[in-house]
Amino acid sequence: MTMQDSMLPSGPNASRNTTHFFLSNEFGLILLIIIFAIIFGVTANGFLSEFNLFTLGRNSAVNIMIGLSMMTVIVTGGLNLAVGAMGVSVAMTCGWLIEGVGLPWPIAILGALAFGAALGFINGGMVVRTGLHSFIITLATMSIFFGSMIFLTRAESFRELPSVFSTFGRMKFGGYLSPLLLVTMIVALALAWLYRRTLTGREMLAAGASPAAAELSGIRVDRIIILCHMLSGVLAGIAALMLVARNGAAIPSMAGQLGQDWLLPAFLGPVLGGTLLQGGKVSVLGTVLGAFLVTMLSSGLMMLQVGAFWVQTFLGLMLLVAVLLDKARRSYLARRNLA
């Protein structure tokens, strides 16, 4: 069967490209989003209300950012289990810089994000230095970062933040568009530009696809990996600061014990979006769509009163179905000689 298929003359380029698009992850995700939007719009009362669209946008802004943060490390073929711990650490640093040190908020935010980059530098540096897989390094630093943060803050929140944060979190454009979503979109566009148009971005992809080949062609793979981890730290920090804007306070438990609550959304976005876990291939649009789909599904399931406690099961099943579909899609492509 494979023989036959591979001997088929390849079709004209145009039809090949359209088939390609219809077989792409992004198209599948858009289709799923539309289908579920219709289902929820019809069955769940108030799903399309302005208020729900606003909260949906606000929640997906955070989830997309968490997914992007993981994506920047997955590009190199690594993982970053510490996204949650880093994010919360950044948020708490920001709170401390404002309340403890008394810095004005714009400088505090920049300082906190620089701290996120520094945490990423620690991760990346250790991965490069020891040559160990980033799984075990970030598992350890997840524990270290979160433990230090809890120890230093005595597990207490920063609640006296300037009103800028909560105002920004509550702001609405046109009744339902949250500015948080705009921030996420800008970051996503910048990342897409990074991977498509800049030398550094291409080097990141090359380092992920084949570190040895990249090294031989003159790319400083070590530096690139450290840079990816720093980028991940900054993005995790932005996600956490957006949560601060939403809650109006910097709370140590906002990502759960050790920041574990962020792990599932962090992997769902990139994996659904077709970013290869082996590294070297990235889809910013896919990650955005994947994370949005997940947020929409959880919101819709809540509104259908499936029970908040079952949502986690559904998300796990989704991840499973997504990787299975992706597998089937790729073997189909391979059989048709399209990929």
Binding site: L79, M126, T130, G131, L132, H133, F135, I136, I137, L139, A140, T141, M142, S143, I144, F145, F146, G147, S148, I150, F151, A155, Q257, L258, Q260, L263, L264, F267, V271, L277, G307, F309, W310, V311, Q312, T313, F314, L315, G316, L317, L319, L320, V323, L324, K327
Partner: protein
């Protein structure tokens, strides 16, 4: 000297030295450290944590990882108490069913990994969420209180001196695992698949069966750990297993397990658990912030993987 260098090559020597050093140092600063009561508390912690560590160790042996250890343990724990409280099942049957659930969860992991060929990380992340979700869906985050008296009594009973009964299942499991990994074909298959899956397959080992058996064992051990925690806490908490992830990796890695697979040590992993328990205990004895336990655990993992790396490098240079 030759004796010493040979000893230093074994997995258990380093951790044993560290354990003895830690005990001596802490004893020097704290009178209470070796009191009977304290030893009993230490052993209780070790009893559960060792099972958690073994549950992960058996998966590390085949070169994979199991993020869902805690979720399986939690699901087994709440279904154990739930079946007694809601269905009124007798305790032994509930224990067997709970362990069956643990095995079932493990088999699902193994089968999915082998059928799809997707990395164990992604599969167990998905099943972690599924099992934990089922746990939350059943309990709605409320604990089951109907733990029977026999189980409660088992949780506090002592065999001899400070040794709790809870340690007995753990000891049996440790001996059984050691016997399996070093003496039984299935244990050798597990290690062979871990060190080189392809070669193992070519030499006639059924990789599918081996991987699924390893995951089933992992689920069983996580299930036993969950049931023991219920006996210790005397309550069916839905949050059982939430904090097992870091610990489950720390102990095997301290015990010299190589994450790429094919090399684990039952005794050294046990010592890894002991070290973690002693240090946690010391932080409490010296009134150091309990929050720092996380930092210490993370630091221990880093130190241990660093040391393992050095140890792995040395023999090549010597060319003995």
């Amino acid at each position: 000297m030759i004796q010493l260098s040979r000893l230093s090559r074994t997995d258990w020597f380093g951790p044993l030295l560290a354990t003895i050093l830690a005990i001596i140092t802490i004893r020097a600063f704290s009178e209470n450290f070796l009191s009977l009561f304290n030893i009993q508390i230490l052993l209780l912690a070790i009893a559960v944590n060792a099972l958690v560590a073994y549950s992960q160790m058996i998966i590390i042996a085949i070169g994979q990882m199991n993020l869902s250890v805690g979720a399986i343990g939690g699901l087994a724990a709440i279904s154990f108490v739930g079946m007694i409280e809601v269905w009124g099942l007798p305790t032994p049957i509930a224990v067997i069913l709970a362990l069956t659930i643990g095995v079932g969860c493990g088999v699902i992991n193994g089968v999915l990994i082998r059928i799809t060929g997707i990395s164990a990380f992604v599969i167990t992340l998905a099943t972690l969420s599924i099992y934990k979700g089922i746990n939350m869906g059943i309990t709605e985050a409320q604990p089951f209180y109907g733990v029977p008296d026999s189980v409660k009594a088992f949780g506090v009973a002592l065999v001899l001196g400070p040794i709790p009964w809870l340690l007995v299942p753990t000891a049996l499991v440790a001996v059984g695992l050691w016997f399996m990994l070093s003496r039984m074909p299935v244990g050798r298959f597990i290690l062979a698949v871990g060190s080189n899956e392809h070669a193992a397959g070519l030499s006639g080992i059924s990789v599918n069966a081996t991987v699924i058996i390893a995951h089933a064992l992992s689920g069983l051990l996580a299930g036993i750990a969950g049931v023991l925690v219920v006996a210790r806490l005397q309550i069916g908490q839905p949050s059982i297993g939430d904090d097992w992830l870091i610990l489950s990796f720390a102990a095997p890695v301290i015990g010299g397990a190589i994450l790429a697979g094919g090399h684990v040590s039952v005794s050294a992993t046990f010592l890894g658990v002991v070290i973690v328990a002693i240090i946690t205990q010391a932080l409490v004895l010296f009134n150091i912030d309990p929050f720092l336990v996380q930092v210490v655990l993370g630091g221990l993992i880093l130190a241990a993987v660093g040391l393992n790396k050095l140890r792995a490098r040395r023999p090549i240079g010597r060319g003995e």
